[in-house]
């Protein structure tokens, strides 16, 4: 599906490959600096602006200014070690960086506690004030959005592969490793290869129990875990527009599961209303140009989609729920940076209300941030989970990666609203992980086997 960007449209402009005109952005205008206007995709425009250029072309290597970066208790220790071993005494801008101890939190053992202490010490020395741990804990990929630290038109580079979640507000957001983050802390910049953009247009109305999570699982199921390798995935269409903002985030969140550099959704009025009150700094939304060149464009009719289940051991190993036979489960995990938003908690609680978790099933519900946790308490969601016989925990991403809380033993089977089901991802290499949306996860906890709320 990869290919060169479409070339040679009318007037020498690149033309969107196979893209109906009605889906071209109405809002963007091509820029005319030093030559004919060059139509760019949303991703290209953000990158060009941050490279200080009037245009960039796919596959070019560029250096860009980074608006925000972050790290956590897995990658952070390496980042800080790299800086210390090169005797870096000052970071580029402490305001543009935050740290979240989110994996082994609250510290699960001595080593985890030592890590947090070391990271706190480093941040104090460097003047980095935003440190999320303890009473303000949360998953950074969600915190960046919730705390207004990633904004439309900006570049976010996080030290976590799911930093791409930030693309849900119309930012260029991507994940990198510890050394790349260290370099950003030194220079405030990073290098990138401009990705070609693939456009995914979701038309029609979402059927009951079908969510943004199912759209991205279906997309990865169709195109594979390297179906968008090194590309930008741009998600659009009336089904996306119809979704509340937080229910869109599962799409860019899992862009990396298709190998993409970033996932992005053009900001609309809902986005701006959502982001406005949270924003920590002024921002200017960016929109794609009409007639921009895409590497490919795919349209999906969502009205016939079902909830999707990704079977072990790849996110692309998807089946529609109706094709899933008896799959009994030992654990259900509802949370993570994919589906730990308040909308996900509410979806689970609606199904769990007045019901009991099946005998022998361990249900773990974990909001992604302290803000979501607090809202769950206000709305009685925590109590609903407890009444159903589940566990309701403070924010951590531990279970998603088999590091902390709800680690799977040999032969155990987990249904999870998270984003990866690789071998050993949630614990034992002999365990199995199935990825679903929160409705299906909650119904599964009650049924004791993978199933739909319609069966309750």
């Amino acid at each position: 599906m990869a290919g060169a960007p479409a070339q040679g449209g009318e007037g020498g402009l690149p033309r969107a490959a196979g893209l109906p005109v009605c889906y071209a952005s109405r809002l963007g205008k091509p820029r005319t600096i030093g030559g004919p206007p060059v139509a760019m995709t949303l991703t290209e425009k953000i990158l060009a602006a941050h490279a200080g250029r009037s245009q960039v072309r796919p596959k070019e290597m560029i250096s860009v200014r980074v608006d925000q970066s972050f790290t956590d208790d897995l990658g952070g220790p390496i980042t800080f070690h790299v800086l210390e071993s090169h005797k870096v005494e000052k970071v580029f801008d402490p305001e543009r960086f935050f740290v979240s101890a989110m994996v082994n939190t609250p510290s699960k053992d001595i080593s985890a506690a030592n890590t947090v202490m070391k990271m706190r010490g480093f941040c104090r020395r460097m003047g980095i004030e935003r440190f999320f741990e303890g009473g303000n804990a949360g998953i950074h990929n969600a915190l960046a959005i919730e705390q207004g630290l990633v904004l439309p038109g900006e570049i976010l580079v996080g030290g976590n592969s799911h930093a791409c979640t930030g693309g849900g507000v119309g930012a260029f957001a991507t994940g990198m490793g510890s050394t790349d983050i260290a370099a950003i802390l030194i220079t405030g910049r990073t290098w990138l290869r401009v990705p070609e953009t693939i456009r995914y247009v979701y038309n029609g109305e979402l059927p009951r129990w079908v969510t943004g999570k199912d759209l991205i699982l279906a997309t990865i199921g169709k195109f594979g875990v390297d179906g968008a390798q090194g590309k930008a995935m741009e998600f659009a269409g009336e089904a996306i527009s119809a979704l509340p903002v937080e229910e869109r985030f599962a799409l860019p969140n899992m862009a990396v599961e298709a190998g993409a550099t970033n996932g992005i959704i053009e900001p609309d009025e809902k986005t701006l209303a959502y982001v406005g009150p949270r924003a920590r700094r002024p921002f200017t939304p960016v929109y794609g140009d009409p007639g921009a060149g895409y590497a490919a464009a795919h349209e999906v009719d969502v009205s016939r989609l079902e909830p999707m289940v990704a079977f072990p051991h790849l996110p692309s190993n998807t089946r529609p729920l109706s094709e899933v036979r008896e799959v009994r489960v030992d654990q259900v995990y509802i949370g993570s940076c994919t589906n730990g938003w308040i909308a996900d908690m509410r979806a689970a609680a609606r199904i769990l209300k007045g019901r009991k978790v099946a005998e022998g099933v361990r249900l773990i519900v974990i909001p992604s941030t302290t803000g979501v946790y607090r809202q769950c308490l206000r709305e009685g969601i925590a109590e609903t989970v407890l009444d159903a016989g589940g566990i309701f925990s403070t924010p951590t991403c531990g279970p998603c990666i088999g590091a902390h809380m709800g680690v799977l033993g040999d032969g155990m089977r987990s249904v999870s609203t998270s984003n990866r089901n690789f071998v050993g991802r949630q614990g034992s290499t002999r365990a199995e992980v199935y990825l679903v949306n929160p409705h299906i996860a909650a119904a599964t906890a009650v049924l004791g086997r993978i199933g739909s709320p319609d069966e309750l």
């Binding site: 370099a183 390798q229 590091a403």
Partner: protein, 165 residues
């Protein structure tokens, strides 16, 4: 970058993710010596004890996909693996490896071109891969100029510190 690497091949399949390269339960440390014994644990727990310094890993598509954990290339490097050849790489892993000085080569090898235990010689400068066991030879995609610059500078951090000076 100069010079020819020689070693025995270890062959792996497609989509070898960083969770199977180094599971999260081992990430409480980034000490290479502690990570090395667990490298590739999710593929085959005995692999780390069999790989010898200088050996070469040959894999399929999308090697290193998934988590951004830099512990993955650190662990591979700590085993003494001299380079990884794959049809394609997960993008974050690709950056991480070069940032640390672990060379990667993209090569679309025909099926069966390299079998486990074959002796390989790899010229990083030209991308020439020779299978000394079978006598066959292949060409990998040249390592991009920017990556060569990084390696020449001694890694990403010396590179950016050098440019600031």
């Amino acid at each position: 970058m100069a010079g020819v690497l020689e070693g025995s091949a270890w062959t792996l399949g497609d989509h070898v993710d960083t969770d199977v390269i180094i599971p999260a339960r081992h990430l409480l440390t980034f000490d290479p010596e502690k990570l090395a014994p667990h490298c590739f644990e999710g593929v085959d727990p005995t692999l780390a004890s069999q790989i010898r310094p200088g050996d070469i890993v040959v894999a399929g598509h999308n090697f290193g996909c998934g988590s951004s954990r830099e512990h993955a290339p650190i662990a591979i490097q700590a085993l003494g693996v001299s380079c990884v050849i794959a049809r394609s790489f997960g993008q974050i892993f690709y950056r991480n490896a070069f940032n640390l000085g672990l060379p990667l080569l993209e090569a679309d090898l025909p099926p069966g071109a390299v079998r486990a235990g074959d002796r390989l010689s790899v010229d990083l400068a030209t991308g020439r891969i020779e299978n000394r066991t079978t006598g066959a030879a292949f060409d990998a995609a040249p390592i991009p100029d920017f990556m060569r610059e990084l390696i020449a500078a001694g890694g990403l951090i010396p590179f950016v510190l050098g440019r600031r000076a």
